[in-house]
């Protein structure tokens, strides 16, 4: 892989961000609103639940990590959609950039964009509602890594869907986290779900993060096998997502979809 084409994608995003407040504000505003809403809700719940249950750490911490995944996913998708909105596929893919370089560019752009959102969310949660993210200790690192990898996988899979179905399919991308969230137990243990939902949840890497998070806060020990399962599933998900993107890209090159992307196909 060459560095220059990868950073072409990153530099393009930087130029676009720098010139447009409309692109910068969404990076953090919705996540910030979520944190404020859940911050007050947890403060209210703290007065109702028995002592010992730390609503701020359990609920607000989970919301923050979930929003981190969403930001990563949307960072990848938004960078990809830039080429859709500007009808730039012909220019980009007639250049020597490879699919691996292109996807790497999307991922690095997403990391940079997500940092802004995470800083804002963390500041509000810490200063406004007293959340200490360090309560998770060193386990925060594997939690973040698993969510990061899975967020990238969702972003790449969402981009492949748009490449296959056309620009109007971007409306399939935005609800993906909302569709997944009931299965991964962001706010409740998987055990309260019906068996079929639990089965799906166990296939999704974030389930292991949120289950582990609650165990840590309750003072229990988290099994390394559980974390490893979450990690392996997240790595598997990114391989599947990249494979799906490559498959769709090749289909688009074979059928002429890429060259005539403005015409949607089903």
């Amino acid at each position: 892989m060459r560095i220059s084409p990868i950073f072409a994608i990153v530099v393009r995003e930087y130029y676009l961000m720098r010139a447009s407040i409309a692109r910068i504000v969404p990076l953090f505003v919705w996540s910030a609103i979520d944190i404020v809403l859940w911050g007050f809700l947890t403060r209210f719940l703290s007065g109702l639940v028995p002592a010992g249950f730390n609503a701020v750490t359990v609920l607000l911490g989970a919301i923050l990590l979930w929003n981190f995944l969403i930001r990563i996913m949307q960072g990848v998708s938004t960078t990809f959609l830039e080429d859709v909105w500007t009808r730039n596929f012909l220019n980009v893919f007639s250049s020597p950039i490879t699919i691996a370089e292109y996807l790497s560019g999307l991922v690095i752009s997403s990391i940079i964009m997500s940092i802004i959102g995470v800083i804002v969310m963390l500041s509000i949660a810490t200063i406004g509602f007293g959340l200490s993210i360090f309560v998770y200790g060193v386990l925060l690192i594997p939690f973040v890594i698993i969510l990061f990898i899975f967020g990238i996988a969702l972003g790449i899979a969402g981009s492949a869907i748009v490449l296959r179905l056309g620009s109007s399919a971007e409306w399939f991308i935005w609800p993906i986290p909302a569709v997944i969230s009931p299965f991964v137990g962001v706010l409740y243990p998987l055990s309260i779900l019906p068996p079929w939902m639990q089965a799906i949840g166990r296939l999704l890497p974030p389930s292991y993060v949120f289950e582990g998070m609650r165990t840590v806060i309750a003072g229990g020990g988290i099994s390394s096998a559980s974390l490893l399962t979450g990690f392996i599933l997240s790595v598997l998900s990114i391989f599947i997502a990249c494979g799906f993107f490559v498959y769709v890209f090749r289909y688009a090159v074979r059928t002429g979809l890429l060259a005539r992307f403005s015409a949607e196909s089903t």
Binding site: R2, P5, N91, V253, G256
Partner: protein, 259 residues
């Protein structure tokens, strides 16, 4: 007298583009039907034909954004199917239907595309193409607010950034006024004569084709029907002008005495 080095001589003898038995089918429709042609260094070849003849499909296959159903494309000695990255490093294109990024300035666009092509000493090269296409006053202007003539100049500046061995121009002067078109044609000719680039040029403006192209290929229904010098070809087929010949190829190809 300008001397030519041995590697340069070797390069000038090998076609920059070699298309062999190229075919593209979309379902039951054959858009390009086993066409073969070459483009040599310093040569401008016109790819002519009515709408739907297969010109853009051919260009898309050469650009590797469309997979051929059969046939081979060799650019600068490398096979485009097996060596895509190397081939595209030596190729570039400009077309009105492939605008650059409207929200980026000219400088930003050229920087992004220069990085995509991995161009060395990019800042220097950007300044060269900006001077070449008189884009100095617009360097910090967003591409999207430029006139169509100015946008075309930027498209061409982008297309020449990597000093391509093969330059594909799909109706580069469409929708431009005659004065700007003339300047742009002169700029492209100068670029071609100063290096070893070969150009494949599509246009519906027969005056332009006669002025610019060294050789033309007439494409109709996916097949190459005629090939030759645009200044002598009409007479060879008993036509008054290249435009008359074009109309005949488009409407009554069977009336031509094709061997």
């Amino acid at each position: 007298m300008q001397q030519t080095s041995l590697p340069q001589m070797a390069r000038t003898m090998t076609p920059v583009l070699k298309v062999q038995d190229l075919k593209k089918k979309f379902g039951n429709i054959t858009a390009v039907d086993e066409i073969s042609f070459d483009v040599n260094p310093r040569e401008i070849v016109g790819l002519l034909g009515p709408n739907g003849a297969g010109k853009t499909t051919t260009i898309n296959m050469i650009l590797s954004v469309l997979e051929p159903s059969a046939g081979t494309i060799t650019i600068d000695g490398s096979d485009s199917a097996s060596d895509r990255t190397r081939v595209l490093m030596h190729t570039n294109f400009a077309a009105v239907y492939a605008p650059l990024l409207g929200n980026l300035t000219i400088l930003q666009n050229l920087r992004v595309f220069g990085m995509l092509y991995g161009i060395k000493r990019l800042t220097e090269r950007i300044e060269e193409v900006i001077r070449q296409f008189d884009l100095e006053p617009f360097r910090k202007t967003k591409y999207g607010v430029l006139s169509s003539g100015e946008q075309t100049k930027v498209n061409l500046a982008k297309a020449m950034l990597n000093k391509p061995q093969l330059l594909l121009l799909d109706e580069p002067t469409a929708s431009l006024d005659p004065s700007i078109s003339k300047d742009i044609r002169a700029g492209i000719r100068e670029f071609v004569k100063s290096g070893t680039t070969g150009v494949l040029w599509t246009s519906h403006n027969m005056y332009e084709v006669e002025e610019v192209c060294d050789r033309v290929l007439f494409l109709s229904r996916g097949k190459i029907l005629l090939e030759g010098n645009p200044r002598t070809l009409p007479e060879e087929y008993g036509k008054k002008s290249l435009e008359d010949l074009f109309i005949t190829v488009a409407r009554e190809p069977l009336s031509l005495d094709l061997v």
